[in-house]
């Protein structure tokens, strides 16, 4: 995927095309999967919380397109998209939220605790902050082991005011660790605006505070995200240290399914961002530039929907974990 994506960053013509189409497919997969999870929640199939990333798909897709299977990702409570983009299957993701033993965490985690080390998803966390530190630590390993692998942290604007952000970025910078810090700035932490939580609205620029490159990109423009991620990952792979990428984006669902969503965001703001839906935006470009025809994309959508439908059936039909087995793995070798 790596070269495709790099090219995609360069634009839609020629070599760029397949990359852009791949990015489109990844975003579509995340969107359809999340929509299915939203329906599943309404149906009562999800016993716990469900944090959807609808509207933010471009960040997961654009960043992970530049990662190799052996690169590692650490994420946060809103990690469905990152998991899917890194290679967790929709079936494993849905089964996890349904609490089934076939889930990527064997039903132990749910929405906020996705583990799939086999594909480099080292974990998502229900606590805001740790992913920043753990990604830095993975970077420490990858460097000490003399690999050219890369570690990525996905986190929200809400983590920026947390000490973990400060301590993690500082250590990554002074030790030149191969880490890409991706801040998904969707303007709110639950209902608290970032404009309230920080007097300084600029996240990307904070890279410089720690002595690392920092950029801010349109998080709804998957090509811009991919371009920035490609440069950051390349820098990390070649031993040039960490990068901070701020992706300005927007959450189109409530903070979590079943939560009230009124009062803290204006309709105008919501509409403005809906008009900038990352999937629709890329679709228009693909068609306008003649990279893909409407019917091709329709076909892809049908394909993805079918796959999601199958995944849903798989998850719904999967067995519950064995209660007795719930005592295992507290320690290694158990």
């Amino acid at each position: 995927m790596d070269s495709d994506a790099k090219a995609a960053g360069a634009g839609l013509r020629g070599a760029g095309a397949p990359g852009a189409v791949n990015l489109y497919r990844t975003m579509l997969l995340i969107r359809r999967c999340e929509e299915q999870l939203v329906r599943a929640y309404a149906l009562g199939l999800i016993p716990g919380p469900c944090h959807s990333c609808i509207g933010q798909e471009a960040v997961a897709a654009g960043v992970c397109a530049n990662l190799r299977p052996d690169d590692v990702v650490f994420s946060t409570h809103r990690g469905h998209g990152h998991a899917l983009a890194k290679g967790v299957t929709p079936g494993e993701l849905m089964a996890e939220l349904f609490g089934r033993v076939t889930g990527c965490s064997r039903g132990r985690g749910g929405s906020m605790h996705l583990f799939a080390p086999e594909v480099g998803l080292m974990g998502t966390s229900g606590i805001v902050g740790p992913c920043v530190l753990q990604a830095a630590g993975a970077g420490y390993s990858l460097k000490l082991l003399k690999t050219d692998r890369v570690s990525v942290a996905f986190f929200g604007d809400g983590a920026v005011g947390n000490g973990a952000f400060h301590e993690g970025l500082n250590m990554a910078a002074i030790w030149g660790l191969p880490v890409v810090f991706v801040c998904e700035n969707n303007l709110y932490a639950t209902e608290v605006p970032f404009a309230y939580a920080a007097k300084n609205p600029d996240v990307g620029g904070r890279g410089r505070v720690y002595g690392m490159p920092g950029v801010t990109v349109d998080g709804n423009d998957v090509l811009a995200v991919s371009q920035a991620a490609s440069e950051a990952a390349g820098r990390a792979r070649s031993g040039c240290g960490p990068t901070l990428i701020e992706c300005r984006t927007y959450r189109l669902r409530p903070h979590a399914e079943g939560m009230r969503d009124g009062g803290y965001r204006t309709q105008a703001e919501i509409d403005e961002w809906k008009a900038r839906d990352p999937i629709a935006m890329l679709r228009r470009r693909l068609v306008a530039d003649g990279v893909a025809a409407e019917d091709e994309l329709e076909g892809m959508d049908a394909e993805v929907k079918a796959a999601i439908g199958e995944a849903f059936e798989f998850a719904k039909g999967s067995p519950w974990p064995d209660p007795a087995a719930g005592a295992r793995f507290v320690f290694s070798g158990e």
Binding site: S105, M112, S125, G126, E191, P321
Partner: protein
Amino acid sequence: MRELTYTDAAREALAEAMRRDPTIFVVGEGIGKRGGNFNTTAGLYDLYGPERLRDTPICERGFIGLCAGAAMTGTRPVVDFMFADFILDAFGEVVNQIAKIQYMSSGRITMPIVLRGCIGAGSSAATHHSGSYYPVYAHFPGLRVAVPATPADAKGLLATALRGDDPVLFLEHKNLLATKGPVPEGEHCVPFGKARIAQEGKDLTVVAIALMVQKTLKACEDLEREGIAAEVIDPRTVAPLDMETILASLRKTGRLLVVDETFGPCGIGAEIAARVMEEAFNELDAPVRRLNGRHAPIPYSPPLESAAVPQVADIARAIRDLVAE
């Protein structure tokens, strides 16, 4: 008496205290206009505004450390941390600063701070939103730890916390928030260190904590039909711990079971067992028994989660076994 939910009862205590005392302010994520993730502050923002209902960034260590400094200088912060799991990031501020500064200053500085939020498993919130931690806070000197099990105690213990000058952990079990019960009107203070006898009985004594009180009472319904009359004690605060009431009951029943959903090792049950042995060894007709949650993180999936904490049937079994010893 009029009935209120646990949450409404606690909010009533907070509202009454804030009306009475302008130095009380609340900090937390979404406790301003939003009224709190658990409606802990609903309606108060409109009355007292942003300075006294202060939304925070996500920096638990920071705002708890900040509130320590505030408590040292004439105000009375209430930290509303939503889930007790979140303030582990502030553990150093709680244990090394908040719990110690009264002592280190020889009482010349007081630390009137209330740290409140939810504990407990039972809602598939998974391992970062299901912990209880009260045994850990009870281990350290300088902290009061309240674990109300009823709406009346939620109001009464919070009212006491808001009147005192000591740091208080006020821990509300998620699965109790919606429960209803009679709650006294007006100011109602429940003293710390005074247990409540939730049910009288002669065959054995069961000390249960937070949600386990309700589950134990439920278990006792069936057991009564079997002719087993358990005395159920709700300590209400685990620090201080009302051993007098527990020992008095034990002297009557000769048997003691501690039902506590959180981890057993170095837990409240261990402390109670040790104290009972030290102070009433010869009154014991059987060893003190403990029923705790499984010694593993709380998993997400319902079948896994319900196996991880004591259920009504487990409690009933433990009671039968102990009576049979």
